[in-house]
C-alpha cells in the first residue's frame, strides 16, 4: 500500500474517533455516561503499542518475561475492590484530578511535592509517548514500504502525530474542571480498545490457522529450535526471582501510570463500575495475550536466519504472504493502541503540568486578579499547549534518541521511574505516619538511583558497568528496580518515623486512611482554625466559577450545614468546601494558596489537631448513639402509652366488674330475702306455695354459690396455681359426656345440634374435667345466642398437625369485629346486651380461655357465614417432662 493511501486511511480512522467522541459528548445518554463496560475497556489503555508489538518481540527473542507485564495487574486487580474503592472515594471527596494531586494532597497539600511528582511523571512518560510515536512511524513506513526519513517535514509520520495532537488537545481540554469526566475521550478510547483487541485476534487466528495448521503444527516446528526449551521457561530460581520482581513492577505500574490513574480513578463515574472491571480487565489482558506465543514463534520459524526486527513480526508475516488487508488491519490495531495511550497520557500529564506546575508556580498571581472568562480561557489554553508540547517533545525524543532502542527496554525504564511513586502512594492510603519530608527525600533518592543505574548507562551506550550494587542474578532492569525502590522505601520510612509530625499532614492522613468514616462528614474532617470572611472567599470563587455558579454552590453549602446566608465569618467547612471547588480547575495546591491569601490561619499544634479530629470522630459516634437512643425512647414511650391505655381500660373493666358482681350477687339475695320475708309474715301459707318459696330460696342460693365459685376459680387460674390433671382421654367419650346432659335442652329450644368427628386417632392429652367445663361453656354460649327457633349448632373435632382442635359454630347474631377479642375478658357483656339481664355469670369465656392457655393452647372467635365460630386448639407435642410438670 502506498503512503498516500495509508495516510488517508489513518485520517479516516481518526475521523471515526472524532465521530465517536462527539456522539458520546453530545448525546450524554446513560449508555455513554453510565456504562461499566466503557469504563473497563478504557482501563485497557494499559495495552499500548508495547503490548501490540513489543510483547511479540520479547516472546520471540527473550522468552516468557513479557508476561510479567500482565501478571502483576491480574494479581492485584481482584483486590481493587478494596484498594481502588478507597482511592476513588478519597479522590471524589477531594476533587482530585491526577496522581500528583492525590499524593501531594496527602502530604500536607504541598505545592512542591506536586511539582516534583509532575516532573518525575513527565520524565517517565515523555519517552514512553515517544515509543508509541516510534511504533506508529516504524509500522507506517513498513506497511507503505517507504524509508524512514530524517527530515521531520518530509517524514509522513510527522503528520500522523500532528493529527493525534489536534485530537487530544481538542477533546482533552473540553472541561476547565480537571476532575470533570471526559465522556467523549473515554468513549473513543474504549472503542480503540475493542479495535486493537479484535485486530490482534484476527492476526493471531490468521497466523495460527492460516499460515500454520493450528497449535500442534506450530509447536512441532517451533520445538525444533535449539533455544525453544530455554525461551519457554522461567529460567530456574534466578529467573523466578526476576519474574517476581518484574511482576511487582507491573503491579505498581497499573496503579501509578498517570494514564491508568486517570482512567481508573479520575474517570470513574460510579464506584460500582469497578466491579465489572474486576473481571473484564483481566479477561481483556488474557485475550490480547493468547496469540502472542504463536505469532512470536511463527515469526521465528518463518524468518529463521533473516535479520528482521522481531517486534515487527505481526506486520511482516501477513506481508510475506501478500495479505494486504491483514497487514493494514494489524497496522490500524497498533495505531489504536498507540493513539489511545498518547491521548490519555498527554491529557493526564497536561493536567498535572497545569495544576501542579504552571498554575501554582507561574500564573497564579495573574489569574487571581482577573475574571472568570479570562481565567477559564487561560487555563484551557495552558492545557492545550501542554498537550501539544508533550507530544512534540516525545516526538523529538523519538526522532533523536530512541530510534535504535527497542520498545521493551524504554517501556520498562518508564515503569521503573514511575514505580518510585509507590512508597508514598501506598503509604498515603494505609499509613498515617508517612510525612512530607519522607516522601520527598525517598522520591529524590529513588529517582537518583534510577538515573545512576538505568539512564546513565543507557545514555552512554556502554554496557552496565559492574558496580558494588550489581546483584549477579538480577537483570540490569530488575537490579535498578530493586535498589531504587529499596532505597526509596527505607528513606521514606526512616525520615517519616524520625521526623516530627505536622498538623495539616496528619489531618489529611486521617482523612485518607479512614476515608469511610469521614465520607459522610467530608467537610467536617478538615481541621482549620483562624479568621476568614465569607465575602473574601466568595470573591475568589467568582473569579473561577462565575457569579451564578458561586451563588448556587454557596447556597447548597449553607443549606447542607444549616447556615444562614448572612453569616459573614467562614469556618473550616467553608474553607475546605471552597478549596474543593477550586481544586478541579487549578489543582489542590493552588486552591490552598488562593484561599490562604484571603484568610488568616492560626497555628495549631499536632496534638490539638488530633484532639479535634478525635472529638469530631466521637461527635459522629455520639450523634449516632443519640439518634439510636432517642429512637429507643420513642419506642418505649409508645409502649408505655399502650400499657397506660390498656390499664385504664382494665380499670374501667374492674369498676364494671365490681358493679356487675354487686348486681349479680344482689339479684339472688333479693329473691331469697323476698321469699324469706313472705314465709315469716304469712304463717298460714298453703303448703304448696310454701314449698315453692323454699325451693326458690335453695335454687337462688345455689346460683349464688356457683357465682362465687366461678369468681374464686378465675382468681385461682389467674395466679396460675390451678393444677391441671392431664392424662390420655378419649375425646369421643368426653364429647359424649358434654352432649348428653344438654340434649334435652336443645330439643326444647328446637335447635339443630350436629357433631362431626374427623379424627385420625381418639386419645389425646388434656384435663378432662376442665375440657368438659370449657366445651360446656361454649355450648351454653352457643345455645344462648342461637336464633330462638330453628337455629343450628355445629361441633366439629379434628387433629391437624398433632393438635387437638375443636370448632363450635352457632348461627345467629354476630359479634362486632372490634369486640372479638374482648369477649374473653371478665364480665364482658356485649354492649347491646345491657338492656337485658345477663344470662350467665359473665365469666364463662374468661375461664375457658384461662383453661386452654394452661394447656398451652389458644382460643379465638370468628364471624363466619351468618353466625359465630369459636375455635380452640390444644397442642399434643409437649414431652414427658412438661406433662409431669402439669400434674405436679
Amino acid at each position: 500500500m502506498n503512503s498516500v493511501g495509508l495516510f488517508i486511511l489513518v485520517l479516516l480512522y481518526l475521523v471515526l474517533l472524532f465521530f465517536i467522541a462527539s456522539v458520546a459528548e453530545k448525546s450524554r445518554k446513560p449508555f455513554w455516561v453510565n456504562n461499566p463496560y466503557i469504563y473497563s475497556l478504557s482501563i485497557a489503555v494499559y495495552c499500548s503499542a508495547w503490548t501490540y508489538y513489543g510483547s511479540i518481540g520479547v516472546a520471540a527473542t527473550r522468552g516468557l518475561e513479557y508476561l510479567t507485564i500482565y501478571i502483576g495487574p491480574i494479581i492485584i486487580i481482584p483486590a481493587w475492590i478494596l484498594i481502588n474503592a478507597k482511592i476513588i472515594r478519597i479522590s471524589r471527596v477531594n476533587k482530585i484530578s491526577s496522581i500528583a494531586d492525590f499524593i501531594s494532597l496527602r502530604y500536607g497539600n504541598s505545592r512542591s511535592l506536586g511539582a516534583l511528582i509532575t516532573l518525575i511523571c513527565a520524565a517517565a512518560i515523555v519517552p514512553y509517548i515517544g515509543l508509541q510515536i516510534k511504533a506508529i512511524s516504524d509500522t507506517f513506513h513498513l506497511v507503505s514500504h517507504t524509508a524512514n526519513s530524517n527530515n521531520i517535514f518530509t517524514d509522513s509520520a510527522t503528520y500522523v502525530v500532528a493529527l493525534i495532537t489536534v485530537f487530544s488537545s481538542y477533546y482533552g481540554t473540553k472541561y476547565v474542571d480537571a476532575s470533570e469526566r471526559r465522556v467523549g475521550v473515554i468513549a473513543a478510547v474504549a472503542a480503540e480498545s475493542i479495535l486493537k483487541l479484535v485486530f490482534f485476534l484476527v492476526l493471531g487466528i490468521y497466523v495460527t490457522y492460516g499460515v500454520f495448521n493450528g497449535w500442534d503444527d506450530l509447536y512441532a516446528q517451533a520445538s525444533t529450535f535449539s533455544d525453544f526449551a530455554h525461551k519457554n521457561s522461567i529460567g530456574g530460581l534466578t529467573g523466578a526471582l526476576n519474574w517476581c520482581l518484574m511482576s511487582l513492577l507491573s503491579m505498581s505500574a497499573i496503579f501509578l501510570l498517570p494514564r491508568q490513574f486517570h482512567t481508573t480513578i479520575v474517570e470513574n463515574r460510579r464506584e460500582k463500575h469497578l466491579r465489572t472491571a474486576l473481571w473484564l480487565v483481566p479477561l481483556y489482558l488474557l485475550l490480547i495475550n493468547i496469540f502472542v506465543f504463536p505469532v512470536a514463534w511463527g515469526g521465528n520459524i518463518l524468518f529463521k536466519g533473516a535479520s528482521v526486527n522481531a517486534e515487527m513480526y505481526s506486520i511482516l508475516i501477513p506481508q510475506k504472504f501478500g495479505q494486504d488487508v491483514i497487514t493494514v488491519i494489524v497496522f490500524l490495531g497498533g495505531l489504536s493502541a498507540s493513539v489511545s495511550m498518547i491521548i490519555i497520557s498527554s491529557i493526564a500529564l497536561s493536567i498535572m503540568m497545569s495544576n501542579n506546575l504552571i498554575i501554582p508556580y507561574g500564573i497564579l498571581n495573574r489569574i487571581s486578579e482577573s475574571n472568570v472568562k479570562d481565567n477559564t480561557k487561560l487555563i484551557v489554553t495552558v492545557r492545550k499547549i501542554g498537550i501539544a508540547l508533550l507530544i512534540v517533545c516525545a516526538y523529538l525524543f523519538y526522532k533523536f534518541y530512541i530510534n535504535e532502542n527497542s520498545l521493551f527496554s524504554v517501556g520498562l525504564m518508564s515503569f521503573v521511574i514511575i514505580a518510585q511513586l509507590a512508597p508514598s502512594f501506598f503509604a498515603a492510603i494505609f499509613w498515617k505516619r508517612g510525612s512530607y519530608w519522607g516522601a520527598v527525600s525517598g522520591l529524590i533518592a529513588g529517582v537518583f538511583m534510577c538515573y545512576k543505574m538505568l539512564i546513565l548507562p543507557e545514555m552512554s551506550g556502554a554496557n552496565v558497568s559492574h558496580s558494588f550494587f550489581t546483584i549477579d542474578y538480577f537483570d540490569p532492569m530488575t537490579n535498578a528496580f530493586f535498589w531504587s525502590l529499596f532505597v526509596n522505601t527505607v528513606i521514606f520510612a526512616v525520615v517519616s518515623i524520625f521526623g516530627k509530625g505536622n498538623y495539616t499532614e496528619r489531618n489529611y492522613a486521617e482523612m485518607y486512611v479512614d476515608i469511610d468514616k469521614y465520607l459522610k462528614y467530608q467537610d467536617s474532617a478538615f481541621v482549620w482554625k483562624g479568621t476568614a470572611e465569607t465575602e473574601d472567599i466568595r470573591r475568589i470563587l467568582i473569579r473561577f466559577l462565575g457569579e451564578e455558579k458561586t451563588k448556587q454552590a454557596l447556597h447548597i453549602f449553607n443549606q447542607k450545614y444549616n447556615i444562614t446566608d448572612e453569616e459573614d465569618t467562614a469556618d473550616a467547612r467553608l474553607i475546605k468546601f471552597s478549596e474543593n471547588l477550586l481544586a478541579g480547575r487549578i489543582g489542590t495546591a493552588s486552591a490552598k494558596i488562593l484561599i490562604e491569601s484571603v484568610t488568616k490561619e492560626d497555628k495549631i499544634s499536632l496534638p490539638e489537631v488530633l484532639g479535634i479530629l478525635e472529638e469530631s470522630k466521637q461527635n459522629i459516634l455520639l450523634n449516632k448513639q443519640l439518634t439510636e437512643q432517642s429512637q429507643k425512647l420513642k419506642q418505649l414511650s409508645a409502649q408505655l402509652q399502650h400499657a397506660n391505655a390498656s390499664l385504664l381500660e382494665k380499670d374501667k373493666q374492674k369498676d364494671e366488674f365490681l358493679d356487675a358482681v354487686a348486681h349479680e350477687l344482689r339479684t339472688p339475695i333479693t329473691a331469697i330475702r323476698a321469699a324469706g320475708e313472705l314465709l315469716q309474715d304469712d304463717e298460714d301459707m298453703p303448703e304448696g306455695i310454701r314449698s315453692q318459696f323454699l325451693y326458690n330460696i335453695i335454687s337462688e342460693s345455689d346460683r349464688l354459690n356457683e357465682l362465687i365459685n366461678d369468681i374464686l376459680y378465675l382468681d385461682k387460674l389467674e395466679h396460675t396455681e390451678q393444677v391441671l390433671e392431664i392424662a390420655q382421654y378419649n375425646i369421643k367419650n368426653t364429647i359424649k359426656k358434654v352432649i348428653q346432659p344438654i340434649e334435652h335442652l336443645v330439643e326444647k329450644e328446637e335447635i339443630k345440634l350436629d357433631v362431626r368427628l374427623n379424627l385420625t386417632r381418639e386419645f389425646f392429652y388434656y384435663d378432662e374435667k376442665r375440657m368438659i367445663q370449657v366445651i360446656n361453656n361454649l355450648l351454653a354460649n352457643a345455645i344462648k345466642f342461637t336464633k330462638d327457633r330453628h337455629g343450628e349448632i355445629l361441633l366439629s373435632v379434628c387433629n391437624p398437625q398433632e393438635n387437638l382442635e375443636l370448632k363450635i359454630y352457632n348461627s345467629g347474631k354476630q359479634i362486632p369485629d372490634d369486640e372479638l377479642e374482648m369477649i374473653f375478658e371478665k364480665f364482658y357483656q356485649s354492649r347491646n346486651q345491657n338492656l337485658k339481664k345477663p344470662l350467665g355469670s359473665g365469666l364463662g369465656l374468661s375461664i375457658s380461655k384461662k383453661i386452654i392457655e394452661a394447656h398451652h393452647g389458644y382460643i379465638y372467635a370468628k364471624n363466619i357465614l351468618d353466625g359465630v365460630q369459636f375455635t380452640l386448639s390444644v397442642p399434643q407435642n409437649y414431652d414427658k417432662y412438661e406433662k409431669n410438670n402439669y400434674s405436679r
Binding site: L64, L67, I71, I74, I75, I76, I77, P78, A79, I81, L82, G214, W215, D216, L218, Y219, S223, F228, A229, K231, N232, S233, I234, G235, G236, L237, A240, L241, W243, C244, S247, K272, R275, T276, L278, W279, P282, L283, L286, I290, F293
Partner: protein
C-alpha cells in the same frame, strides 16, 4: 458489596500471587507440550482463567 465478600476477592489476589510465584511456578517450568503450547504457558493461562472465573462469580453472586 459487603466487607465479607470483598475479602473473598482479596483472597483471590493473594492466592494468584502465590500460584504465579516462586516456588510453585517452578513446578511447571517446562516447555513440554500441553494442549498445544509449552506447559508453563498452559499453567499460567489456566490460573489466569480460573481467577477471572472466580472473580466473575463472586462479583455477580454478591452484587447488591
Amino acid at each position: 458489596m459487603k466487607k465479607r465478600h470483598e475479602q473473598k476477592l482479596v483472597l483471590v489476589s493473594i492466592i494468584i500471587f502465590i500460584l504465579l510465584n516462586v516456588p510453585i511456578i517452578l513446578l511447571f517450568d517446562k516447555a513440554d507440550k500441553v494442549i498445544g503450547i509449552p506447559m508453563i504457558y498452559a499453567y499460567i493461562f489456566m490460573v489466569w482463567i480460573a481467577s477471572i472465573a472466580i472473580t466473575f462469580f463472586v462479583v455477580k453472586r454478591y452484587n447488591e
